[in-house]
């Protein structure tokens, strides 16, 4: 992420109240935008993130998230600026649905990771490690902490996407109903995976067991 882009992005959106808190000099803490339509889940994820030393903003929908980021379609000319620095923001999807086809699609569309709900502290800790590694890599090409401080990780409720696309868009076969057994979704399986390729493999194993 080019430092100038970050500065110009901040200037462009400076009039938006939401961004006043994103001053690079204020804090080294990363700022996470958490999107979830469930009030209960918003409260939990907010706490999970805060206790892990993230700054958090929670919103209830995708459109609110876009508003927060200054990407209101009303304000823009009707289409998004493809070259925006906002493209650099890593997106993590969280969902209670372990549909492999959907997970694959999220990752293909550019999500960094897919977390199976309920989200645990270990999931958030893993993200922290991932972000630190990521920002270290970007710091190699840029000096200063600005990139680090402005790095935002956006977690998006996968259900938001559900509202926007058809099941028929997925090339894979339609998802089968979840198993009824109590052990169908042991959170420990997914949270112990450190990188998403292995978590995809673990989830595939779970699906196979169900068949």
């Amino acid at each position: 992420m080019d430092r100038d882009d970050v500065v110009s992005w901040q200037r462009r959106t400076h009039d938006v109240d939401a961004f006043d808190s994103l001053h690079p000099s204020d804090t080294e803490e990363a700022h996470v935008l958490a999107v979830d339509d469930s009030l209960v889940d918003r409260k939990v994820i907010e706490r999970l993130l805060r206790i892990s030393s993230f700054r958090v903003t929670t919103v209830e929908s995708g459109s609110r998230a876009l508003q927060f980021l200054g990407l209101d379609e009303d304000k823009s000319s009707g289409h998004f600026d493809e070259s925006s620095a906002l493209r650099e923001i890593p997106v993590v999807i969280m969902s209670s649905e372990k549909v492999l086809a959907r997970i694959d699609r999220c990752l293909e569309e550019g999500a960094e990771e897919f977390i199976v709900k309920p989200v645990k502290l270990s999931d958030v800790k893993r993200l922290k490690a991932y972000m630190r590694r990521d920002s270290r890599e970007s710091n190699k090409s840029e000096t200063g902490n600005r990139a680090n401080a402005n790095r935002k990780l956006r977690e998006e409720e996968e259900e938001e996407e559900d509202n926007n696309y058809d099941e028929s868009d997925l090339s894979a076969s339609s998802p089968s109903p979840p198993a009824c057994s109590v052990s169908s979704s042991p959170p420990s399986t997914s949270s112990s995976c450190s990188s998403f390729p292995s978590s995809a493999a673990a989830l595939a194993a779970m699906d196979e067991r169900r068949l």
Binding site: D37, V40, D41, K43, S96, K117, P118, L121, V182, P187
Partner: protein
């Protein structure tokens, strides 16, 4: 609730240490039973880990949110299923929400009942859905009553000068 707390406190003052220990033991037994019976799962323990001096009421706050949220969802579901032409997408969306929030607080039986419900929903089986809804309501009322009792027991311990252990592994 305040009146009964005062009553309990008087009882404690009379036999301080023994009373407190007894209360803490009762609390621990009650908690363990909830895990053993599958009413709560490990996610509830995760919530407790998020509670500390800076957020001393976190668990009660989240659970209270869950209660009001769920009551609304259950009403919505009753209404959805009473329609002449049932909108199953809508029903499914509501159950999905309930499944999600119950899973987030560790209300295992409610979550499992939601999973069964969704199967009937997918089959567009209205009688099945109605039966499931009854089941979910029952499980919800159960976990609500159990958690309210648990919180009361915790309050008594704290009022008697004791502390609630932050994380207690259930003895299964």
């Amino acid at each position: 609730m305040r009146a009964s707390l005062e009553g309990e406190k008087q009882q404690t003052d009379q036999s301080m240490d023994g009373g407190l220990m007894q209360m803490q033991r009762r609390l621990a037994e009650y908690r363990n039973a909830l895990f053993k019976e599958g009413i709560l799962d490990s996610q509830y323990l995760q919530l407790q880990e998020l509670q500390d001096e800076s957020n001393p009421d976190f668990v009660v706050e989240v659970v209270s949110l869950f209660f009001t949220d769920s009551e609304k969802l259950l009403n919505d579901l009753s209404r959805d299923l009473a329609q002449q032409n049932v909108d199953f997408k809508r029903v499914d969306a509501h159950v999905h929400q309930l499944k999600g929030s119950s899973s987030s607080i560790g209300a295992e039986k409610v979550k499992n009942a939601c999973i069964v419900f969704r199967n009937f929903c997918q089959e567009k089986n209205i009688p099945g859905c109605l039966r499931c809804l009854q089941q979910i309501k029952q499980e919800f009322l159960l976990v609500k009553s159990k958690l309210e009792t648990l919180f009361k027991l915790e309050q008594q311990v704290v009022a008697a000068g004791g502390s609630i252990p932050t994380v207690q592994q259930p003895i299964l």
